[in-house]
Subunit: 329 residues, 2 copies
C-alpha cells in the first residue's frame, strides 16, 4: 500500500516523464512537494524496491517501470475530457447520418490520429465471426463481373472476376444457390462448403462449372481474414523513443502487419476500455495499446490507439471513451 506522498511522487514522475522523456530527479520533484530532495530520494528508493520505478543507470533520475505505468493507469490517472474544439471536429463526422458506421469510425479515427500523433486501428471481427449474409453479382461486360459479399456484421467486400462462356442464367442460379444454402456460414468456412454443397449441384447443369466454382472459391478465399484499418502508421516516427531506433520502428511496423498480433487485440473479450502497457501489448516493450470493443446493432468491432509506452494515458482513454459512446448510439 502506497502512502499518499508516494502516490503523489509516482504520479508526478509518470506525468513528467510522459511530457518529456528524461529521467526525473529528486530535486525537481521536491519543488512540487512540501519536503526536501533527500526525503524524495528515500521515497523513490522505496518505490523502486516496490518495482514501480527504474533507474537508467546507478546515478540517474527515475523512470516509471511497466508496473509503475500500470499503477498510474489503474489508480492515479485522472481522466481528461476532450477539449471543445477537438470534440467539434469529431461531432461533424458523427452527425452525418448517411455515413455507414464503418466510414464514420474510419474518419473519426483519422482525426484522432492527427490530433494525438498516435497510430489508430479499427478491427472488424475476424472472418470466422462474420457470417455470410448474401452475395450479389453485378455484370460489368461480356466476361467481367463484380461479386459483392455482405456479412451479417455489416462488413462488405467486392471482388472482380472474369468468366468465359458462362451464361448469366447460370450465374444467377449459382448465386441464389449460395444465398439459399450457404448464407449463415462463417466466411472462412464458405470455401469448403462451396465444394461440398454447391459444386455437386452446379456440376449437373452448368457447362463451365469447374471455372465457376473456382472463381467463387477464390473470391471467398481471398476474403480478408480480418477487416483491418490502420491510420497514421508513420506517427510512430514522431515519437522520440523510436525516431532514434530503426530496429524498433521496423519491429513495430512488422507487428502491425502481423495478423496474429492484431487478432489477439480483437480477441480480448472485455467490453470496457483496456490498456496494454509495454510488454503487455505484444508489439514492443515501448509500445502501449489502448483499445475498446464497440457494438452498434449487429455491427461490432474493436478500435485501438497505439502509441509509445509514454502515451498520454489520461487523454487517450478519455478520447476512446468518447468515441465508444458516440459509436454505440
Amino acid at each position: 500500500m502506497l502512502s499518499e506522498r508516494q502516490e503523489k511522487i509516482l504520479k508526478l514522475i509518470v506525468e513528467k516523464y510522459i511530457k518529456d522523456p528524461i529521467p526525473v530527479g529528486s530535486k525537481v520533484l521536491s519543488k512540487h512537494l512540501k519536503c526536501s530532495s533527500a526525503t524524495v530520494r528515500n521515497e523513490m528508493a522505496t518505490l523502486e524496491e516496490l518495482g514501480l520505478l527504474e533507474k537508467t543507470h546507478t546515478s540517474s533520475g527515475r523512470v516509471p517501470s511497466e508496473a509503475g505505468y500500470r499503477y498510474y493507469v489503474d489508480n492515479l490517472m485522472e481522466l481528461k475530457k476532450m477539449n471543445a474544439e477537438d470534440m467539434l471536429k469529431l461531432q461533424i463526422v458523427f452527425k452525418n447520418q448517411q455515413l455507414a458506421l464503418s466510414d464514420t469510425i474510419t474518419k473519426s479515427l483519422q482525426i484522432i490520429s492527427d490530433m494525438t500523433n498516435y497510430t489508430t486501428i479499427t478491427l472488424g471481427l475476424s472472418s470466422h465471426e462474420n457470417l455470410l449474409k448474401q452475395i450479389e453479382v453485378v455484370p460489368i461486360d461480356e466476361e467481367s463481373m463484380v461479386v459483392l459479399i455482405v456479412t451479417d456484421k455489416g462488413h462488405v467486400e467486392h471482388k472482380s472476376i472474369k468468366l468465359q462462356d458462362v451464361s448469366s442464367e447460370e450465374i444467377k442460379k449459382t448465386v441464389s444457390l449460395i444465398n439459399n444454402l450457404i448464407a449463415g456460414t462463417p466466411i472462412d468456412e464458405v470455401s469448403s462448403k462451396l465444394e461440398f454443397e454447391i459444386k455437386p449441384i452446379i456440376g449437373n447443369y452448368v457447362k463451365q462449372h469447374e471455372q465457376l466454382y473456382n472463381a467463387f472459391y477464390h473470391v471467398f478465399n481471398d476474403f480478408s481474414t480480418q477487416d483491418v484499418n490502420i491510420v497514421g502508421r508513420t506517427k510512430m516516427l514522431e515519437q522520440p523513443e523510436f525516431s532514434n531506433n530503426i530496429e524498433k520502428i521496423k519491429n513495430v511496423f512488422n507487428k502491425l502487419e502481423d495478423k496474429d498480433i492484431l487478432n489477439s487485440i480483437e480477441q480480448d473479450d472485455d467490453n470496457n476500455i483496456k490498456v496494454y502497457i509495454g510488454g503487455e501489448s505484444k508489439i514492443d516493450d515501448d509500445v502501449t495499446v489502448i483499445k475498446t470493443k464497440f457494438k452498434n446493432g449487429n455491427e461490432e468491432g474493436t478500435i485501438a490507439i497505439i502509441g509509445p509506452k509514454r502515451m498520454e494515458y489520461d487523454r487517450v482513454v478519455g478520447m476512446l471513451e468518447y468515441m465508444k459512446e458516440n459509436i454505440e448510439r
Copy 2:
C-alpha cells in the same frame, strides 16, 4: 563524348557503388582495367569535371552523381533478364485467368517488392480520366445499402450508405436516372452533375429527395481521386541511405501519401519505361522511381518501383519490362 575507358570506369563505379554504398577509389578500379591507379585518377578527375562523378570529401573515392546515374541508365546499362525462379513465381499469378487485371497486378507487384526489397506502386487513372460506367445499388437491410460504382476503365468501388424512409422504388428510379443521364461523365464531375441533372428531377417525385441526393453526392465525392496501391512501404527502411536518417524516411513516407506527387508520376505520358533519378523523382534526392504505363483493353494505369538512387537499375528495368509485357497480353 566519353572515351571507351571513361565509360568503363563510370560503369564500374556505378555498379560497384550500387552493390555497396562506399565511395570507390582508384586502386580497386585499376585492378579491373589495364592501367595504373594514377591513370584511373586522371580519368576520374575528368569525369568529375563533366559532372558525372562526385566526391564526398576532398580525399574520398568517387560516387556517381545524378548525371552519372543518368548516363549509366541511358548509355551503359545492360538489361538483366529475370532469373527463372522469379519468373515462375510471377507466372503463377499471370496464368490465373479468373483474376481481375487489378488483382493480378497487385499480386505480382507484391511479389516483386519482396524479391527486390523495393516499394512498388500501382496507379489507376485519376478520377477525371475515369468515366462513370454504371452504378448499382444492392439493399442490405431496412436502411442500409451498398452502392457499387463501376468506371469505364474497370475500376470498381463500393460504399455503404443509410437512407431513412426511401422506398426501393425511389432508389431504383434514381439509379436508373443516373445510369441513363450521367454515365460517361468523368467521376470527379459526377457530384456536380447530380446537382443539376438529377436533383431537379427526383425533387418532383421522391419524398426524401434531399437525403437521397446527399447520399449519392457523398458517395461520388468520397470516390478516391486516384486508385493507389502501395506495397512494401517499409522496404525503404532496409536501404542503408535511409536506415540512418529518420528525416529522410519521414519525408519519403509523407511523399508517398501526397496525391500530387503520385499524380505527377501518372501524368507522364510516355508509354515506355521511364527512370526518374534522385531529384527527378520529386520524392527525395536519394530516391529513384522507375515506372511504365500499361494498357489492356480499356483498363490502363501505371506501375512503378521506388527505391534508393542506388537502385539495381538493370534488374528493375528488366522486371518492369516483363511485367508490362505480361499485363498487356
